[in-house]
Each structure stands twice: as C-alpha cells, then as structure tokens.
C-alpha cells in the first residue's frame, strides 16, 4: 500500500506539469524536476559549477534508470532530463538503452518521449538501433493511429539500413491507409529508404506514382521529394510525367488547393518550389519537354508579384528553371528583368540571391553582367563578406584574357583578408585556374602563382602545385619563351629565398626547391653555389618539415656542381646521413655519392628537357601470364576489396524470412578499388628521377606520359592554340584600377568597371567556352605525343592487347566481306563493325592458305588468327575460332604434308570451362597426302574465366605417343550483344546478385564525349549492346553466347568511368571487367 502512495507522490509533480502545460499557456513548471534543474543552472555563474551540478544530476538519473522500481512514467521524466543534459554537451550515453526500452514498453505518451530520445540520441550507425526494429514492427501493426504515426516518424529519421526489408512490406501497406497523415508519413519513410538503400525500394516505384496522384495535397507534396531525387538521378526515365507535374503546378498556382496550404496568402509555396525544381531537371537540354512548361512558367512569374519573401523565393526558383531548360527568348527577357529586381533590391538577402542567380546565368547571358556592372562593383566593396564572395564568383565566370589581371587582383585582395579555410581553398584554386588559362605574360603568371602558393599555404589542393610544375617542366613551343619563363621563375624564387623564406608555406618551399633544382642552371647569373647556399638556408629553418628537407636535398643533388659547393654539400651530408628520418638519410647518401661523381650524376639525373617519358603499363598486363597460371592452378580469382567486404557482410547479414532472396545492399558512396587509376596517377616525375623517393612526398608531379593514356587528349584540351583576342585595348587592362586618392570614387568605379567587363560586349563567344580564348603565350609543346605515335607504328595496339587478334577472313575478296547465306543480320553487322578496326591486321596474315579451307557458311564472320597447335611427324594441327551469334566455332585444320595418306586420326578436345560438341559424327579421319581436313567444334561456356583453355589430344596410329596440345582463347570471344529495353534491364538488374565495381579510364575523343567514346571502344571490341545513355550514365548489356547475361552500368565520375557489373554468374562480372580494361588500354 505504502508503495502505491510513494509512486503517486513521485509522479505528482510531473502530472501537475503536464496538466498545466496545455496549448496556449506557458507555465514555468516550478514544481518539476526539469524545471528546477533548468532554474538551478541559470542561477550558476561559472562553467565549473554547471559541470558539477550536471554530473550530480546525471549520477542521480543513472541510479534511477537502472533501478527496477522506476516506473515508465518516471522513466519518461528522467529521459527528458537526460535529453536536456545531452543538449548542454554532457555525455548521457547510459540512458540510450533506456530510451529504447521506453519506446518499447511505455504507454502511448511515454513511447512518444522514448522515440524522441532515440531519434535525438542515436545516429544511423549506432548499434543499439537494431533493438528498435522489433518495437517499430509492433507499432506499425498497432491499431492505434498515433502509435503508427510515431513509428513512421522515427523510421523516416533513423533506421538501420540492413533492417529495411524487415519492415518494408508494412510501410508499403501504409500507402493505402485511409488516413492521409499515415499515407504521407509512409511516403516519407520510403523516401528515406530510397536515400539510404535505393535498391531495396526499386520495385515499388509505381506506387510512388499513386502517391503523386493522391487526393490529399500533403501526400502528393511528400511524394515530390522522392521524384525530385529520382529525376535528379535519371531525368530520362520520367519525361512522361512532365505533363502531370505541369498540371499540378497549374492547379497550385491557380489556387485550387485548400486554403490551409496557403502561406501568407501564397498557395503552397513549398510544393511550387519543388515542382519548379523538378521541371528544371526535366526540361534541361530537352526542347520538347521545355515547350510543355513555358506557359506555366510564365504564369508563375506573373502570379508571384506580391512583395513578400516567399514570392521572391518562388521567383528565384522560376528564374533558375527558365535559365536551365531549353531557352525561350521572351521568358528569358522576363527572367532577366526579375534578376535585375533582385540585384537592385535594397534588402540584402534579395541582393545576395540576385547575385547568386547572376552567377548561375552569367555564362549563358554575359550581357546581364554588363547591365549590372555598377552594382557588381559596389558589391565588391560590400561590408558583408558573403556578398563580396558571391560577386567574386560572378567575376570568376566572366573572366577572359582581357580582364584577367583586374579580376585576379580583386580575388587576391579578398584572399589576403579571408580567414575561412574553405573559402581560401576554393578561391586559390580558382585563381590558379584563371592564371593558367588567361595569363597575359610570364611575369604575371609566375607572380600570381607565387601569391597563390603563399596564400594557399598547406591547405591548398595538391593538384594546383602538380599542374604548375607540370606546366613549367613541359614548357612551350618556342624555345626562347620557354627559357624566359623558367629563368623568370628561378629569378623570382632566388629573390624570395633571399628575403624571408621563414614566412613561406612548406608547400611553396617544396615547389621552389624543385624549380631551382631543375632550372637554376638556365640562369647564368646565379651560380650553383649561391643556389646551394640558399637551399642550405632552408635546411636550417626551424619550421621546415622533414618532407621539405627531402625536397631541398633532392634539389641540391641536382644543382651541386663545381668545387665551390663541395664544402657546404659535405657538411649537409654529414648532418643528414645520421638523421633519424630514413628518407632524409637516403637523400643525404645520394647527395654525397652523386656530388662526387659528375658522370654518374649526369646519367642518373639528366636535365628534364632531355628526359625520355616513362612508359607505364597501368593495367599490369605483364602479370597476365602469372595470373592465368595461378588461376589454372586453382587459385581463387581476384576480388576487389569492396566486393569481398560486401560478400562478407552478406554472409553476416540476418535473413528475416526463410529462403528469402536477399539483394545486395548498395552504398551510395563510391568505393574506389585499388585500380589502374591510382597506380598511374601516383607515378610522378619526382619519383622517376630518384626511384627511392618513398612515400614522403605529397606533391606529385605528373610529368609522366602514359603511352596509351590521356596525355594526348589533355594537351589538346588545354593547349588549343587560338589567335590572340581581338578588340579591347590591352593597355586598359594593365592599368591599376584605382590610381590616386583624390579622383572621385565614382570615376574610379567607372574605370574599374571598364577594365573588369572588358571583352564582354563583343560576343558571347569570348565567355561561353572557357579555355577557347587561350592567349598565345600558352602554346605548349606537345611532348609525349611523338613517342606515342612512334609506338603505334611499330606495334599494332590490337596485337599488344589481344593474344589472338581478330580479323575478318575473306580470302577471295579481302576488301569486301562476303556474307554467306544463312548468317543473320546481326552477325553480318558484327562482322562489318569489326572489319574496319581489323583490316590492317588482315594483311599481316600468314595462314598459309589455311583460311581457304574454312567452311563456306563461316566466311564473312569474325575469325581469329590461325595458329599452329602441334605437329607430329608429317601432320600439323592448326586452329582458329569463328564468332557466330549463337556459338563460337572452333575450326581445327589437320594438314598432312607427306605424300601418303594418314588414317585413323583422332582429335579429342576437352575443357573444364567449356562444353565442346563436334559437328561431324565420325571420330576418325583420314587425311590424304598433301591435303587438309577440317573439323569443326562448337564451344559453349560452362564456367567463365578470363581466358578459357581447351586441352586436346591427337591420337595418331603411327606414333606410339599421343600428342597433347592446348588452345587458349579469351572470354571476350564468347560475348555477344544482348538487346533489351530499359525496363527489362531494370528488372534483370534487380534479380542478379553477383556484382563488381571498378573504375575504368575514360577514352577521350575529339568528336564525342568521353562516355560515348569509351562505350564505342567497348562495344567495338567486346560486342556489347548499349541499352541507353542517360546524361553521364549508360547502361549496357551483353551475354555469353545465348545465355548467361551480364549487365553493366557506367557512370562518368570525374576522370574515370565507374562501372558496375551484375550477372547471375558469379565469375562473369570480374572476367568482363578484365576485358574492358584490356580493350580500353588499347586506345
């Protein structure tokens, strides 16, 4: 009895609080424990006291939560206090488990606090979250609507990814719930699932369409989140919905929605904005779709007239949409006017948005920047940094060769005052980009880069230094210009080192060391000993890191020459040969040896201009033999680490239902496998000079030309020589914008404007394509191109990459293939496609006329080279394979070179990986003297592997021993295109469970985009079928002969093509990726 009384008493205060705090009455809840805690805290004066108080509070909470006598009601009160302590920054992780318990066991209102605590305390990856799954499952099935709501709310915030399948059916079911609040929350829960595990909700996409048509605007609005995301990923897939979205927007704008959705008498602004975002994605680069939305966009612009923030928000989105979709001139005009209103507004928020819109559109419509040039100049001096920053962003986009000096100066001024690392990194990168593209002369370029390095410090993106050094080392077309640039750089660095090198960032010192090491010999006025002295100074600086010292020692090794340097070099060597840092010790040793032996030094470190570019076989093809041997010996095929982990995760994952098909969980993050890219890019010129550079350096000099790499393309992209800019007086752009104090500020601004917006009014061409107006000084030598061409003439790339080069056998008519009757069109097309690429190799054929013996129905098809398998006495066995659509035919030629006929010859083929069937029935053959007998075998793949091997035996009655031979052919010979629609592809993709992801190098071509070019190479070499290309993504399908499909999803990701392969056959994706690599390597 006393127990009950006590419980009532403890519960009383919180009861009072709850009763009191009804809507509309804010009570300070003097009696509650939370209230007293808060009041106590506010009375405290020092942080220390607060800490003590909270620790006391937490320990009392800890005692109570773990006591078995605590009721759920008390637990709820404790939980609220724990949330409060956590918010103040104190750790109350011991309550997490109790929060879950409260959600599980409490009554409805306690549960509410329990769920809230869970959503506040835990994040997606917290292990305790697994304990919540059962509770959610139970509540989703509850008949109490509020419980269902709470469960859906928590699910939309946090839920363990692996557990989604457990509750997915229940959530799906809720899409049909009579209550709109439940439907709406279910849609949002599915949106969350789509974000964290898109694969698992792919099958319910059609249900989203139902949600879009829901009679409740709230549910419809919620489904827009999903559509926005889906369309962002794949705009092509949802074009059919354009009219629906337009109709919805029309209804919203026309005020057809219930009044509740109005916000300051604007109808449903959030829904409007989302629809506008969706429309802009759909209409991008698509005149037809854009056409549908022109009318409603105009209507939106007209309707949004009221002077309120919310209408401006809609207008801004409208303008963005108009400039994103296929342009229509009168709409653009209206949008431009709208931007003008923003920019000229006295409200700072609107001004900012106007500038942001201007940044967005200025590349399409540079005249707009001209119109607002005076505002832009004003904003450049605005006291609010964010306005200044956005203005610089506009300027960055309108930079050309004529205004570059003024704009870069403005950017550097801003940089020197900026304290935010993120801004610094971003702007420094932009300045470096502009300097590279538009530098008017050497002097300016070097000085600007000096500023970049000084301001950028250690946080700068490493590729800035890399590309700078690459540019310097590769030089220019004109020898004289080239020398001037280098000499200027050397002079500038010498004077910097003579000044105060302590103030320079380490990365800059490393650049300086490298440049001095490579090029200081070009400057006759500066002797080697001066340079060594200056470098030595860097070694003695306190803040020099050992990495910098390594660079310095390397530079010294290159420079030290003559007796004058010897004593200094000697002392440096002595100091560092006993250094604790092994890399430094190594460098010191090298310095010591090489400085004594000039002949050796000249051989080890030739001057950069005479150095041969390195050839890097980035696919490691020289290991192929080793790999295939290992595979043949039974080794497991290599799996990239991510796949291993995924497989591991799959075996660990809990299965919810017996015999359920588990789909692999996809991660949105891109997993980079240790692939070709990383190898090739980490090879640097620095490591080429001194092979033991070790891992100490973070500066990578990309001086190495890969033989089959993108070198040629890069050169072509950056170095397009173009005539010098027309128009504009260069003298204006060089005058400092602000000359004297006493001139009127207006005049100054005018002058600044005239120099800043130079070249904008001529034509949009100067602006549109950045890089197409490269000044003449940037004509760089195209080094690395020549060796590439040489290599191509000597070795046919096809032969390099493919052990059995394909060629078309058409003995009678070498130039035009004869397509025999009976071969399907596809086969003919296949053959034709290969004809062009392989014609050259046809001439090199030395098949001794054997191809004449090819069965007639196989002529005109793709055929491999005929190779000798074995010979015994007078008999010789040769073979080749011919690609048929449904099979791969292996043709074995048995030729008898003696005068006598040989009888009872038997050839047997078998293979673990292949299924072999023979066309002719008889096992024995008789080969007459000086004749050839042809046997034809059909091959099918039983077990895919990179290369498949046939082991054959030749039984020959006249010799006691049978002759064994092997025939190896690449899996790519079995690959055939698989024609299917995108929908079919989608369902197939979901049903396949074996996958591989890898990044491939992109092929660059002048006529097409990199994705197209790469796909062309792949389809040509591997006979893949491109199902669809959507923006930067493509889906491709193929199969092994008639069965065993493999699907491929490609996405351009930076410099690489991220490929994801799926197939029902475990080995197939890995094998195919190998052949893709090989195919791309050949280009």
């Amino acid at each position: 009895m006393s127990d009950v009384v006590e419980k009532t008493l403890t519960a009383l205060p919180s009861l009072l609080l709850s009763v009191d705090s009804q809507p509309g009455s804010a009570k300070l809840s003097t009696s509650s424990k939370l209230g007293s805690l808060i009041r106590n805290i506010t009375e405290l004066t020092s942080k220390h006291e607060e800490e003590k108080l909270i620790q006391r509070e937490l320990s009392s909470i800890k005692d109570q939560v773990s006591s078995p006598n605590t009721t759920m009601r008390q637990m709820k009160e404790l939980m609220v206090r724990a949330i409060y302590c956590e918010m103040l920054g104190y750790d109350s992780s011991f309550t997490y488990i109790h929060a879950i318990k409260l959600a599980q066991q409490g009554s409805v209102l306690e549960k509410r606090v329990g769920y809230l605590a869970v959503s506040l305390f835990l994040n997606e990856h917290h292990e305790l979250l697994l304990l919540l799954v059962n509770t959610v499952l139970k509540d989703l099935q509850s008949t109490n609507l509020i419980e269902v709501c709470m469960a859906l709310t928590v699910v939309s915030q946090i839920f363990p990814k692996d557990m989604i399948p457990a509750i997915l059916p229940l959530v799906e079911e809720k899409l049909n719930h009579p209550k709109e609040i439940i439907r709406r929350k279910a849609v949002l829960a599915l949106y969350k699932f789509h974000l964290i595990a898109p694969n698992q909700v792919q099958h319910i996409h059609n249900k989203f369409r139902k949600a879009l048509c829901d009679k409740d605007p709230g549910v419809m609005g919620a489904s827009l989140h999903i559509y926005l995301h889906l369309i962002q990923e794949n705009p092509e897939g949802y074009k059919d919905l354009t009219t629906s979205f337009v109709t919805i927007l029309k209804q919203v704008v026309g005020g057809k929605l219930p009044m509740d959705f109005n916000y300051h008498s604007v109808p449903a602004p959030w829904i409007q904005i989302q629809l506008l975002q969706i429309l802009s994605l759909l209409g991008k680069n698509d005149p037809g779709t854009s056409e549908i939305m022109h009318e409603i966009l105009e209507e939106s612009l007209r309707r949004a007239e009221m002077n309120h923030n919310i209408t401006y928000a809609i207008l801004y989105e409208c303008v963005k949409c108009i400039y994103t979709i296929h342009p229509k001139s009168d709409l653009l005009e209206k949008a431009a006017k709208c931007i003008g209103n923003f920019v000229l507004s006295s409200k700072i928020n609107l001004k900012y948005l106007g500038l942001k819109a201007l940044t967005y559109v200025v590349q399409q419509d540079p005249k707009l920047a001209l119109q607002h040039q005076m505002t832009i100049i004003e904003c450049l001096e605005h006291p609010d940094l964010i306005i200044k920053r956005e203005t610089l962003e506009i300027l960055f986009r309108i930079t050309n060769a004529q205004n570059v000096t003024v704009i870069v100066e403005k950017m550097l001024t801003f940089l020197s005052t900026s304290e935010d690392d993120h801004t610094t990194i971003d702007l420094v990168g932009k300045v470096a980009e502009l300097a590279k593209k538009y530098a008017p002369d050497n002097e300016w370029f070097i000085q600007t880069m000096n500023a970049v390095f000084s301001l950028g410090g250690e946080t700068m993106q490493p590729d800035i230094t890399n590309s700078f050094l690459k540019l310097l080392s590769e030089g220019f077309d004109s020898v004289e210009e080239d020398r001037k640039l280098k000499v200027f750089a050397v002079n500038s660095y010498v004077s910097l080192l003579e000044g105060e090198p302590e103030k320079l960032p380490q990365r800059f010192l490393q650049v300086i060391s490298w440049v001095l090491g490579e090029f200081s010999h070009l400057q006759q006025d500066v002797g080697a000993e001066t340079v060594v002295c200056l470098l030595d100074k860097l070694l003695h600086m306190k803040n020099s890191t050992s990495e910098t010292k390594t660079w310095v020692l390397m530079a010294m090794t290159k420079v030290c020459e003559g007796a004058a340097c010897a004593p200094l070099v000697q002392s440096v060597c002595e100091t560092y040969s006993s250094s604790l840092d092994t890399v430094l010790r190594q460098r010191a040793q090298e310095l010591q040896h090489l400085s004594r032996d000039p002949a050796l030094r000249a051989r080890v470190l030739p001057p950069v201009c005479t150095r041969e570019p390195l050839e890097v076989d980035s696919s490691l093809s020289f290991l192929d033999e080793f790999v295939s041997e290992a595979l043949a010996a039974g080794a497991a095929p290599y799996k990239p680490s991510h796949q291993r982990q995924e497989e591991l995760a799959q075996t660990k994952a809990v299965s919810y239902e017996p015999y359920q098909l588990t789909l692999p969980i996809s991660t949105t993050a891109h997993t980079h496998t240790p692939s070709l890219l990383s190898i090739s890019s980490s090879l640097s010129e620095g490591s080429a000079d001194l092979s033991h550079k070790g891992g100490s350096s973070s500066l990578k000099l990309e001086g190495v030309k890969r033989v089959w790499g993108r070198g040629g393309y890069e050169a072509a992209q950056v170095e397009t020589p173009s005539p010098p800019q027309e128009g504009g007086d260069p003298s204006i752009s060089h005058t400092p914008p602000l000359t004297s104090e006493d001139t009127e500020s207006k005049q100054q601004e005018q002058q600044l404007a005239s120099s800043m917006f130079l070249g904008l009014d001529h034509s949009s061409v100067t602006l549109m394509g950045k890089g197409d107006s490269t000044p003449s000084w940037l004509k760089r030598k195209e080094r690395g191109q020549t060796p590439l061409n040489d290599a191509q003439t000597f070795t046919d790339p096809q032969e390099l990459t493919d052990p059995s080069p394909l060629h078309v056998v058409s003995p009678q008519f070498p130039q035009s293939p004869v397509i025999a009757n009976g071969t399907s069109d596809t086969e003919a097309a296949l053959a034709l496609a290969c004809l062009d690429t392989n014609r050259s190799s046809t001439n090199q054929l030395e098949d001794r006329g054997l191809s004449l013996y090819l069965p007639a129905e196989l002529s005109g098809l793709i055929c491999s080279e005929i190779s000798v398998l074995c010979s015994s006495e007078s008999l010789e066995l040769s073979a080749c394979h011919v690609h048929k659509l449904r099979s791969l035919e292996m043709i074995v030629f048995i030729s008898n070179s003696s005068d006598n006929a040989v009888q009872q010859i038997q050839v047997q083929l078998h293979s673990e990986q292949l299924e072999v069937s023979c066309a002719s029935e008889s096992q024995m053959e008789e080969v007459k003297g000086h004749s050839v007998v042809v046997r034809q075998y059909s091959l099918r793949v039983r077990k895919p592997s990179v290369h498949v091997e046939l082991i054959g035996t030749l039984f020959h009655p006249e010799t006691p021993q049978n002759v064994q031979f092997t025939y190896r052919l690449p899996l790519s010979s079995f690959i055939r295109p698989l024609t299917l629609s995108t929908e079919e592809y989608g369902t197939m993709w979901l049903s396949f469970s074996n996958d591989t992801k890898q990044n491939l190098t992109l092929v660059h071509s002048e006529n097409e985009g990199p994705l197209r070019a790469t796909l062309n190479v792949l389809t040509e070499d591997l006979h893949l079928h491109v199902v669809e290309i959507i923006g930067m993504e493509a889906i491709v399908a193929c199969r092994l002969l008639q069965d065993q499909p493999c699907l491929m999803h490609c996405r351009v990701h930076g410099d690489a093509l991220a490929v994801w392969l799926r197939s029902p056959v475990p080995e197939l994706p890995d094998c195919l990726i190998y052949h893709c690599q090989r195919a791309l390597q050949g280009h």
């Binding site: 209102l109 959503s119 994040n123 709230g218 993120h422 993050a669």
Partner: protein, 166 residues
C-alpha cells in the same frame, strides 16, 4: 582539412541540421538530419554559434560556412539557424524557419524563449511533425497542429483516468 562532403554520404537531404540558441550562446534545440558523431556535432555547434552571434543586425541572413550555406534568423532573444547545401534555395529556408516559429507561436500562444526552454520536448514534437528527415513534411499549418493536438489529447485522457484512479 575538414570537408563536409566527406562526412555526409547521403546526398539530397535538403536540410542538414537545425539549431536554436540564445543570444548568450546557450543551445536550446538541436536537430541533426545527417549522421555525425558527437564530437563533430559539438565542434560544429561551437563554431557556428560564434560565427552567427558575431554577425551584425543589418547583415545578410545567409552565410557560407565550410561547404554549406547557413541560413539564420533572430526572433527576440532566440536565433534559429539552419544549414543547407549550396545550391538550395536560401529564401525558402528562411520561410521554413518562419513557419516553424508561427507553429510554435500558435501552439504555445505568443511563444517566448522560456516556453521552449521548459517544454523543449514539445518543440521537438512540433518540429518532427513539420520537418521530417530534413524535408518539409506538412506545409499546412492546420494539419501540423492537428497532429500535435491529437497526440496531446491522448495524453490528457490518460492523465484524467490516472487522476480518477488516485
């Protein structure tokens, strides 16, 4: 170097987090829509509080912070502060804040900082009903409040039965 994009794996969450804090720099409410560890959360809160409190009244309501855009607005002694991604619409975020304040105002009846301090769990409930997982869930003011009141009503019914028992 810290980069936000390294931490946030899930793209396309409109709002990254929302913070409510007083002029004195005391945190009143925090809601994170992206998974972050506690240490990171504390660091972000500390840095952001300092930055926002240092802003002058006539300045822009938006600021660039790391690679995010922060939108803030002051209501009496309380700052409401949201982080969104750079390409998002800042003005509509400002209106989201305003709508949230309207909801609080309607629920508490001319809301003041003390209401939020002492009934912060209620403020969270309202926020969850309005914004779910970083996206505007329900934009009708009436519907949000209806949902909250229904749950509250249930609470009262239970309380009544409890008081009848004792």
């Amino acid at each position: 170097m810290f980069r936000w994009s390294h931490l946030v794996i899930y793209i396309c969450v409109q709002m990254q987090f929302m913070l409510l804090f007083s002029r004195q720099g005391k945190l009143r409410l925090q809601k994170w829509y992206v998974p972050l560890c506690d240490k990171e959360k504390k660091k972000i809160t500390r840095e952001l509080l300092q930055t926002v409190l240092a802003r002058k009244p006539k300045m822009c309501s938006f600021l660039e912070w790391r690679d995010l855009k922060v939108v803030y607005k002051r209501y009496a002694s309380l700052y409401f502060c949201c982080a969104i991604e750079n390409q998002d619409n800042e003005l509509i975020t400002l209106e989201i804040i305003h709508r949230y304040v309207e909801l609080l105002d309607k629920y508490f009846g001319s809301v003041c900082e003390l209401d939020i301090i002492f009934n912060f769990e209620k403020a969270y409930f309202i926020l969850d009903e309005f914004l779910l997982g970083g996206e505007a869930q329900e934009t009708s003011k009436k519907n949000v409040l209806k949902a909250i009141e229904q749950a509250d009503l249930l609470q009262e019914i239970v309380l009544e039965t409890v008081s009848q028992i004792y």
